[in-house]
């Protein structure tokens, strides 16, 4: 059989192609080894994305900046005309082009979770957009595993945006009911039904990342040439003196415990007993973690301080003047003593019991059952009085005074409505003056925020309280 000239040519070409591919295999392997040595691979920085890789390839690297500029301007324009969905698609494209430029993830995830969500009227839609923002920054975490910033941002949205918005009681319930387990699980894959718990896990992850020394670009050893990253990951969070960075896991746990003891999710009753005590225990140990961490003094790196020593007179005495100064300053700054004492008080069985009685008192008021309300409040306040006597720091704090004062105020109201006399002597009576003009309601308690009809809202399936 004779091959025609053109067929021969085609055969030669295809063999050439095959040969080139053949050479590519060992070459790629060699390249991968080098990548690993230098920690240059996409995979070391984060998850590899084929689409992102192809797009960057298609733009030949150099046009990337131009394309990103155009996309960024377009995203801003789309936001101006309220075309949210196309804006989201556009910023997704930006991250495909610049997956390791952290500011894009931070800025745009905030934009979605805060600025876009607020433009939507229905809480369901708001929740949807907050979730988009969180998922967006989580995508960033996947692609930049060593950045504590993005991990911290994720935690912050779970903590603050879901937990502190005006519609928090509805939005937290939406989170609770969300069937998207991936969105609700932490790094170990444990599903958390309360956003504060999950926020704690993410905050903790950021702290652990910093502590492991893996964060940010690994500094070059003296043996190798420093690596020049194209989009160098910059670390902002978790620098040595970043106190608040380390308080956040404890804050989230404290919030979780406090939220457990009220109807902080619309339609889901409060939880007390062992579960509440556990939550406060966890919060306390998170605060102790923070308190026992050794911070270098700002004016002297060699001198280390533990904020908890403020609460430990024996150790405190042994410290230098400078150390004592920084402990005092930072302890006040973070309100460490208040938080610690609060957790200690609330974790006691009497603490949880008093909270339960206050909650039931408020429920009775809502149901216009004033004699019962008065009784519950009285019982609760008696226990609370004895408990706080053992926790002077917590008792003396203004926030507590206000909280307790509001309960006393409600107690007096219940008494009056029940036609009973306000006793001459009762615990915390002096606090009534503090809250005389204070008519605010707790925005994170559906019992206070929502109209009475919220009771008729669909109830959570049995056996799934906030935990």
């Amino acid at each position: 059989m004779r091959f025609s000239a053109s067929l021969t040519r085609k055969l030669i070409y295809s063999m050439g192609i095959l040969l080139l591919f053949g050479i590519m295999v060992p070459y790629t392997q060699w390249l991968e080894v080098r990548q690993k040595e230098q920690e240059l691979g996409e995979a070391t920085i984060g998850q590899v994305d084929a689409g992102s890789f192809l797009l960057k390839l298609a733009l030949l690297g150099g046009f990337r900046g131009m394309a990103v500029n155009i996309l960024w301007t377009r995203a801003i324009d789309l936001q101006k005309v309220h075309d949210w969905d196309r804006m989201k698609t556009t910023i997704d494209m930006i991250t495909k082009l610049q997956p390791h430029f952290l500011a894009v993830w931070t800025y745009q995830s905030w934009n979605l979770a805060y600025n876009v969500s607020v433009e939507w009227d229905a809480p369901e839609d708001k929740y949807d957009w907050i979730k988009k923002g969180i998922q967006f920054v989580q995508e960033g975490v996947k692609k930049n595993r060593r950045s504590p910033d993005l991990v911290w941002d994720t935690a912050w949205y779970y903590h603050h945006k879901l937990g502190f918005s005006d519609e928090a009681v509805i939005i937290r319930r939406l989170y609770h009911d969300d069937k998207d387990d991936e969105f609700k699980s932490n790094e170990e894959g444990i599903v958390r039904n309360d956003n504060f718990q999950l926020a704690h896990d993410w905050f903790k992850r950021a702290v652990d990342l910093v502590d492991s020394g893996e964060a940010g670009a690994r500094p070059a050893t003296s043996m190798e040439t420093p690596i020049e990253y194209v989009d160098a990951p910059v670390q902002h969070k978790g620098r040595p003196g970043d106190l608040h960075f380390r308080t956040m896991p404890a804050h989230s746990y404290t919030r979780y415990a406090a939220a457990l003891e009220k109807e902080s999710m619309k339609g889901i009753p409060a939880t007390f007993g062992a579960r509440a005590r556990d939550a406060w225990d966890n919060a306390l140990s998170a605060w102790l973690d923070f308190g026992l961490y050794e911070f270098p003094c700002h004016n002297n790196d060699k001198e280390k301080v533990r904020i908890d020593d403020y609460d430990n007179p024996d150790r405190y005495k042994t410290l230098s003047k400078n150390q004592q100064y920084w402990i005092g300053r930072w302890g006040d700054q973070t309100q460490y003593m208040y938080w610690k004492d609060r957790c200690k008080a609330e974790r006691e069985p009497q603490g949880v019991e008093a909270r339960r009685l206050f909650y039931e008192g408020t429920k009775a008021i809502k149901a216009a059952n004033f004699p019962e309300a008065a009784q519950k409040y009285k019982q609760g306040l008696d226990i609370w009085d004895k408990l706080l006597a053992r926790h002077p720091t917590y008792e003396g704090d203004f926030l507590n005074k206000r909280d307790t004062g509001l309960i006393v105020k409600r107690y007096v109201r219940a008494l009056k409505n029940a036609g009973l006399e306000v006793p001459e002597k009762m615990p915390f009576k002096d606090l009534l003056k503090v809250v005389e003009k204070d008519n605010t309601v707790d925005p994170y308690d559906a019992l206070e925020m929502m109209p009475a009809s919220s009771e008729s809202a669909p109830q959570a399936p049995p056996g799934s309280p906030g935990g």
């Binding site: 994305d49 084929a50 689409g51 192809l54 797009l55 101006k80 005309v81 309220h82 949210w84 969905d85 989201k88 698609t89 997704d92 494209m93 495909k96 939507w120 009227d121 229905a122 809480p123 369901e124 839609d125 949807d128 957009w129 988009k132 005006d166 519609e167 009681v169 509805i170 939406l174 009911d177 069937k179 619309k266 925020m449 929502m450 109209p451 669909p458 399936p461």
Partner: protein, 819 residues
Amino acid sequence: MSSVFIPLFAQAGGAGAKAFDVALLWMRVIGDPQVTIGGRWGGLLSWVKVVALFSLLGWIFQWVLRAYQNTLSVSRVKWLDYAAGFAVLGGIGTALLQVLQSTEKIHLYPIVLVIAGTTCALIVAIWIERAVWACISRLGTRVDFNVLAAVHVALGLGIVVSLMLRRMYLRVNINVGYANAIADGVRYGATFMGFVVLLRVLTLILPDILAIRPRRLYAIAWHTVVESTRRMWAPYVVVAVFLVVLAFTSWFLQEPPRPAEYGRLYVITLTLLCSLLLTIMVVFLTPLSLPSDIQNQTIYTIVSKPVRRLELVWGRIIGFMALVTLLVLIFGGFSLAYLSRQVGGQITRTETEAKRAEAENRLDEAKTLREQADQMRTRMGARIPVRGSLTFLDSRAAKRLKGVDVGQEMQFRSFIEGATPAAAIWKFGQVLDPRDEYFQDVAKSKGQPPPPRSLPLLDRRIPLERFLVAGTIEAKLDELSNVEQEVSLMRAEQRRRSNAGKDSSELADSIKQKAQLAAKYRGELDQLKSKESEIRSKADAEEKAGRSTAAADLRDEADKLHSPDVPIEMTFTVYRTTKGQIGDAVYASLTATNPYTGERSPTTFPVHEYYTNKETIPAGLLAGSHGFLTIEVKCISSTQYLGMTENDLYVLAETGNFGVNFMKGLAGVWLQAMILTAIGVFAGTFLSWPVALLTTFAFWLAGLAAFNFLQDLASNNIVGGGPFESFIRLIAHNNQVVDLAPTIGVVAAKTLDSLVMPVMSRLVFIVPNFSVFDFSNTISNGFAVTNGQLLDGILLACGYTAPFSLIGFLILKNREVAA
């Protein structure tokens, strides 16, 4: 100036001015390139004028070029050539002086510049005149000579028309001034000259057009198809790329932000993909075909056959378009299959999820999911909306053109305040433009006389035949109501006549007839109603007997006696001044009123922001409405605001087939490809293939990305000067609005800009506007591409294709292809 003339024109016509004046004004409409009439005829007129002016330019250029090639004027009157050269330099100098004047470097009387500029222009004109005369008298035929003469007559006509118009304006106390009148006259004259040349061009082309034979066109077209497939493998490559990209779309498209957006994202991406692939294919294929034929000398075999050159051009275009058609069909088929799999699948999944949520007592979630599925379905249709015209009442119930501005960056929507008389009112029917209505009211309130002519009405009538199904109770009610209205009108007329002592016996007869008709309709209506109640009682009986299927069938039968409810769709935005009770929606009320019968249908609903809120009104409300309807929307929640714009509320006339609509959208892509094909073939007739390719590519890019910029350029809306000035700003890091110090560089740049900009701004007439052929937004939002839109697109595409292909033919005709 045109803004002064248009109302004058309207008034002159309306006041019954002399036919001569009307003719004069028409001459102006025909002659002035900046003025036209409304509608499709206006577009056609503008197009003819632009083509005529370009023909004139081409004609002059051609004769001057021939004169230059034959060294005609150079050998005869040398001094004129020098004068023309100086005049060109003088023109540049004048531009420079103008710039210096505007930057206040020098102070001259403006008249100096005018005189200098005019003189230079005149000298150049004389030089051109001389060259054209010389050339035509030497080389031209008798016809060319006639054209030359006619061109001059046309110029004269323009000036005469302008002067006579001036006299006419003087009669209504508008003084235009001689200089302006002559300048206008030259402009009209130029257009008339263009018409003469266009006529000449048509006489050149017409014989060829008439000689076209479909058989030969077909042969060339088929040859083109075969060549493109065999030599370039174009269709295979394009289809392969399409399929590969389709297979990996998910790499580039992340999960859409909201499920409701699923369809939109995919539709836009797919249309974009089809459009890019097809246009790029055309850009590469078309400009290469003719030059390579000429280069390879394969053209010999064709031109030696009795094939006309026009057939060569048009046959090629037809061939390429056949290929494009085939590809559009393939792409459309694949895209629709892909969409139904992706989006259809997502809809089914969401609906299943909603059912599951409902079963698990997660009612809120179930509701959200169902709404999402519904939004997706809505977008995967082809809605035909009937839109009303929107006016507002403010918080004190005063009529307004707009509502409140709540301070959003882009003020598309204006807002009405909750729990006040503020309302947004959509009027359907034959209505005045809201602006006209508003200013008429203002004038009335000030005691000013009404405008001399009745203002034009917008036709926003609701197509009753779509909503009132023949044979139903509502349709009958409509007939009855119409007859009753006629009767009451005639009765009123009868009373008026008898009061005036006139004879009204003739009216009495028709009243009697109509009354009989009304009685007949009433009888039929009663019959229908009793039939319905009969069926319903039967259904109740069946239900009692426990045969629920039979009962449901009977109820369906009863329902068929009614026209279905009229769907109204709306999208409002919410602006809250306080949070209100959290979790509570802002409520709106909607009241539909039939202005003829006064019947009303009120409803209240929670507003779901950024979603399509759907409400219905009973079809019976439309009975006797003649297509007129008023819909009033108010915000009920106090301290909150509701935002809307005219397109936010419409009566949904029909939901068409999505597939058909999608293919209509691809027809837009097809039209883009047609224009590019014409440009590619045109470029191939006189350029070598690399240059032709670049030219076509430039047209494609400019039409795609730069048309808006060109439009701004043409309407002088560019901030920061022309290309040269912008360049200086760019390198000196000056923003667009900062004043530049008049250095030598800046003055030079501005001078160059003032010479370049007039030429550049004319590009807007040549570069095709591709964005108008892009229907992807309409389709992806679930609205139908109307036949009118499609027709506009076809006309526009022909407006580009015809001139390009014909110029290509003229060039090819005069070119020695087989040299």
